[in-house]
Structure formats: structure tokens, C-alpha cells
């Protein structure tokens, strides 16, 4: 949760996100050089990457397939597409034009549902090539301004990108963050990208404006260089307040591209619309149109795995926990939901399994090292009243540390023994006798009164009582 609690007064935030993701191909979009992060500078180069005279692009078929996966996972329509040249000079753009799908993007008109039920429209998801990387030498902090000179590495130039453009449907910084998280989960699930913001394989630009509901949309600013999910929220909050302050003090928001500075927590002017380039788009004559056949689209669609939202619904239905609960979301995000379901299949308690996996398996892979049967055995002891929640946690810690283990044996070795039902029942009776007022209130349906009774039992048992069993006994006695 953020410290952000909405905008002052009547203001409404309007956000659209443009997310660039690098595709998980072996080679670049238009040439056979490796698409690989972290190599020595300028080692993944060829005539096309360098924009050498005479070099020509040839489209990577697998990149198209991954782009279609993204489109289909975002409920887009896949349509025939063409590539254009976007002409501008920049030293990390070797040909002085970027090849990008312009007026006929591959994927159009989809949506993404956030875990909280908010639906964000997807305008388009188009393919384009990445630029190289500039390193600024001299000046302060590697920034472009004030540098002595710059150094260009073209390893990233030509890496396939899909740019996912949302509709301006996002109304809060929290939803923006949720959108980025959900999108990342989808991209990873479908194998389209590793979607690492810290390595730049997923990059977010935010179009931010503010207005009062019922009035026209405000002038928007595009925020670039947002390098983490946390920054997405911070940058949007900062920018919204900046715009509101401007308007409330009688100034106007100017359409600008702004740069998010993580160190000072502000956005800074990069350039204003007036001096924006004239990109002189025209159809790339070195490429031919792209028109995926219906069969190809169908094959890609059929090959998509179950997406995070469906997996959350499935886990929610199996466990009884809400689909947007933290436990369901984080377990699905880690891909451990199949595992939780497997614990249920081998006879374990799926509700307890969800809680344990969520809390104790954060460092475990999607398929955890602990055999599902071992976790199942633990949950069985727990719900059978043989272990309290606290004891179960301690046993599980050992099981996780050893990549598995016999829960019953470990519990015995630790000297854990749960109270048997008859001694627990007598403690409950004693508590009722000690607090007749609380008992009466509880019987009249006052939930708070239950806490006092359970507390007494726990105290009398010195923590050995199972809270769930106590609650069950109280309810049973209420009749």
C-alpha cells in the first residue's frame, strides 16, 4: 500500500501507460545477431544492426509469434500489419530511423483486467526495434546534460520490442502499479519476455493528466525513465500533484515529455511538444506486409497457457480465498498455484497449504523443492488438531530448510503435542464459566466477544490450544 491517498478536492487522475517489452527471442528483430543482455559492448553486431550501407532487414518469425501471444493474451485482435520508418537522428539509432508498426499495428483493441476488477483497455500492441545504449562520460552522474562525450553500444540495437499502449483508463497510482504487475505476470507466463524492469527488458512510460470529472480531459505529460514498479506510482503521484498545483495557481499544463528522476523524486522537462521532431513516417520499402494466417493465429491462441487471472480464479475457487487476496495473488505470481492445488490432490488441506506457501515459499521456485505430499501431511496434522498454527509454522520451517521431511516425526522430535479434544473442551467450559457476560454477548452474535473467550483458552493452555478448534468448539456449544 502506498502513502498516497488520492488527489485533493475534486481532481481526477487520468493515466495511460505505454510499456515497451523486449521479446525473449534468440536473435534480433531483423537480423541474426544474438538478443542477449549483459554481453561485452558491440559484440552482438552485424551489417543490419550497424546500419551499414547495403544492409537489409528480414523479419524474425518467432518475434512475430511472441508478439501475437502478447496480443492474444491481452484480448486483442490480431490483424494484418505493415512496418514504417520513424525518422530521427540519435547516435544510438544506427539507421537514423526506427522500424515500427505505425498505422496498422499487429494487435489492436484488447483489454487487461486488474485483480481488483478494474478493466483497462488496450489500444494496440505493436512491434518495433530497440535502440542501442548511450553512456554519458563526464558531467554529473552519467546524465546526458553536461557530459564531455558519449559512448555508444549497439548490442541492444535491433532487439525486438512490443509496445503495449493502454487506453487512458487508469484512475489511480495504485491501479497503474497493479497494471504493470499484472502485465508483467502475463508476459512471463506466456514466455514472451522476462519483463525485468531493472534490466530494461520492460520499460514504462506514463501519460498523466488531471481534470475534474465531467469536464474535458486535461493536457497530458509523458513521463519517461520510470525504472521500477514503485517508481511508476511515485512518478504518477508527483506528476499529478505538480499539474494540480500549476492549474490551481492559475498556470496551464504544457504538453511535455518529462523525465522521472528517482534520486530527487521529481519529474523534469525533457522537451516540450513545440520542439518535438517531425518523424516523416513512411512505409518501410525494405520489408513486405505481415499478414498472419487465421491458422497461425489459432495455433498461437491454442498454445497459450492459463493466464494469471484465470489461475487466480481457479485458486480462489479451490481455497475459498478472494481472487484479489494477497495470498492468492502472490502465490499465482510466483507460479506456485499448481503446487497448492497438488497439495489438495494428495489429500492435504488446500486452505492451509495456500497460507503456508504464501508465507514460507517466497524463495522457492514455481515448483517448490518440498514434495507436495510432505506439505499435505503437515496440513493434515494441523487441521486434525495435532499441531497448532504456531507449531506447524516451526515444523514447516524445518521441512523447507531440508527440501522436505516427515511432519509427524519432526513435530514429535520438537516435543509438540496438541491438546486432545477433551482437555480442550474442559478449558473452553472453564472460560465460559469465567466470563458469563462475554458468553452471553457471543451467543447474541457479537463477534468481538469471541476474541475474549478464545484469548482465555489460549492463555490457560499456554499457547498449545489450536485457535481454530477453540472457535469451532465455541460455535458448537452455542448450538
Amino acid at each position: 500500500m502506498s502513502a498516497y491517498d488520492g488527489l485533493p478536492g475534486e481532481w481526477e487522475l487520468v493515466v495511460g501507460l505505454e510499456v515497451h517489452v523486449e521479446l525473449a527471442t534468440a536473435t534480433k528483430l531483423f537480423s541474426a545477431s544474438p538478443n542477449r543482455f549483459g554481453d561485452e559492448p558491440n559484440t552482438n553486431i552485424d551489417p543490419v544492426t550497424l546500419g551499414l550501407p547495403g544492409a537489409l532487414p528480414v523479419l524474425n518469425e518467432f518475434a512475430v509469434e511472441l508478439a501475437m501471444r502478447i496480443g492474444l493474451a491481452l484480448n486483442c485482435t490480431v490483424q494484418p500489419s505493415t512496418f514504417h520508418r520513424k525518422n530521427y537522428f540519435y547516435p544510438d539509432m544506427p539507421k537514423a530511423y526506427q522500424v515500427s508498426q505505425y498505422d496498422q499495428p499487429l494487435n489492436v483493441g484488447g483489454h487487461l483486467d486488474l485483480p481488483n476488477g478494474v478493466r483497462v483497455g488496450i489500444e494496440r500492441a505493436h512491434m518495433e526495434e530497440d535502440a542501442g545504449k548511450s553512456t554519458h562520460v563526464g558531467g554529473t552522474g552519467g546524465r546526458v546534460h553536461g557530459a564531455n562525450h558519449s559512448l555508444i553500444d549497439l548490442n541492444r540495437a535491433g532487439v525486438p520490442l512490443v509496445e503495449i499502449v493502454s487506453r487512458p483508463d487508469i484512475r489511480s497510482a495504485d491501479d497503474a502499479r497493479a497494471y504493470v504487475n499484472e502485465l508483467r505476470a502475463i508476459l512471463v507466463a506466456i514466455g514472451a519476455s522476462d519483463a525485468k524492469m531493472e534490466e530494461g527488458s520492460m520499460r514504462v512510460d506514463a501519460n498523466v493528466s488531471v481534470h475534474k470529472p465531467g469536464t474535458p480531459l486535461g493536457t497530458r505529460c509523458e513521463i519517461k525513465n520510470v525504472n521500477s514498479v514503485r517508481s511508476v506510482g511515485r512518478a504518477i503521484e508527483y506528476e499529478a500533484r505538480r499539474q494540480i498545483d500549476l492549474i490551481e495557481s492559475g498556470d496551464a499544463v504544457r504538453q511535455q515529455t518529462r523525465h522521472w528522476d528517482e534520486t530527487d523524486g521529481r519529474t523534469h522537462t525533457l522537451r516540450t511538444k513545440e520542439d518535438a521532431d517531425d518523424y516523416r513516417y513512411f512505409l518501410e520499402p525494405d520489408l513486405v506486409p505481415l499478414a498472419p494466417s487465421a491458422e497461425w493465429v489459432q495455433r498461437v491462441r491454442a498454445g497459450l497457457p492459463m493466464l494469471p487471472a484465470a489461475r487466480r480464479t481457479r485458486l480462489s475457487q479451490a481455497t475459498g480465498q478472494p481472487a484479489d487476496s494477497e495470498a492468492v495473488c502472490s502465490v499465482v505470481e510466483r507460479g506456485q498455484d499448481e503446487y497448492v492445488l497438488a497439495v489438495g490432490t494428495v489429500g492435504g488441506d488446500i486452505g492451509r497449504a495456500l497460507v503456508h506457501v504464501k508465507e514460507a515459499f517466497a524463495d522457492q521456485p514455481a515448483t517448490p523443492h518440498v514434495p507436495a505430499a510432505d506439505l499435505a501431511a503437515l496440513t493434515t496434522l494441523e487441521v486434525g488438531g495435532k499441531l497448532t498454527a504456531t507449531q506447524a509454522k516451526a515444523v514447516l520451517a524445518e521441512i523447507v530448510a531440508n527440501n522436505g521431511g516427515d511432519a509427524a516425526a519432526l513435530a514429535a522430535a520438537k516435543g509438540f503435542e496438541a491438546l486432545d479434544t477433551s482437555s480442550l473442551e474442559s478449558l473452553v467450559d472453564e472460560a465460559i464459566a469465567a466470563e458469563p457476560d462475554a458468553w452471553q454477548k457471543f451467543c447474541n452474535g457479537d463477534g468481538k466477544a469471541m476474541g475474549a473467550l478464545v484469548g482465555l483458552v489460549m492463555k490457560a493452555s499456554r499457547g498449545k490450544a489450536d485457535g481454530k478448534l477453540v472457535t469451532a468448539l465455541l460455535n458448537q456449544k452455542k448450538g
Partner: protein, 100 residues
């Protein structure tokens, strides 16, 4: 002169094309470009409303390459041909303005 292009247009275009042109070159270029564009009057007289633009001389679609790495170029050979290089990278003067 057909006044299809002005010296101000030419100045703007020269900046877009990153071509430093001296004032006398701008003047000469304006006259020459205007002279060339003048011939476009013939085309302007045509009714092209129902004509689809032709963008491809030979109709091909879906031309692909398999996603397989092929040997690339040698960095030292490439950097040796560059005007300036440093630390395995192309060296350029400081960059003004933002990225596209």
C-alpha cells in the same frame, strides 16, 4: 516561381535533414526546389481520389527469417573503421536534447 516552398521551409527542412546550409545555399536551394515542385502542378490536376497508393513493386507477404543466431561482425574490425571509438564503443560528442 510557383511559391510552393519558402526559404523558411527550406531552413526547417535542412534542420530536419541535419544538413548545415549557408544562407546563400538556402536561397539557391529554395529556387531549385521550387522549380522542381512546380512540375507537380501536372499531378495536382489529376483526379486521384479513387486511386490506391502503390507501395510495393512486387506483391510479397510474410517474408520471414528463422530465429537462429548467425555469426556477426568482429568488433575490432568495425571499431577500427569508426571515426572515434573508446572502451569498445563508438565515441560521439556530447548529445543534446532527448531521445526520440
Amino acid at each position: 516561381m510557383s511559391d510552393r516552398i519558402s526559404a523558411a521551409d527550406v531552413t526547417k527542412v535542412a534542420r530536419l535533414a541535419r544538413l548545415d546550409l549557408a544562407p546563400d545555399e538556402i536561397e539557391r536551394m529554395t529556387a531549385q526546389l521550387d522549380g522542381m515542385l512546380e512540375h507537380f502542378a501536372d499531378v495536382d490536376a489529376l483526379d486521384l481520389a479513387d486511386v490506391a497508393p502503390m507501395t510495393q513493386p512486387f506483391p510479397l507477404v510474410n517474408v520471414f527469417r528463422a530465429d537462429v543466431v548467425q555469426p556477426g561482425l568482429d568488433r575490432e574490425e568495425v571499431l577500427a573503421a569508426a571515426p572515434a571509438a573508446e572502451e569498445g564503443r563508438f565515441r560521439v560528442p556530447p548529445i543534446l536534447g532527448g531521445e526520440g
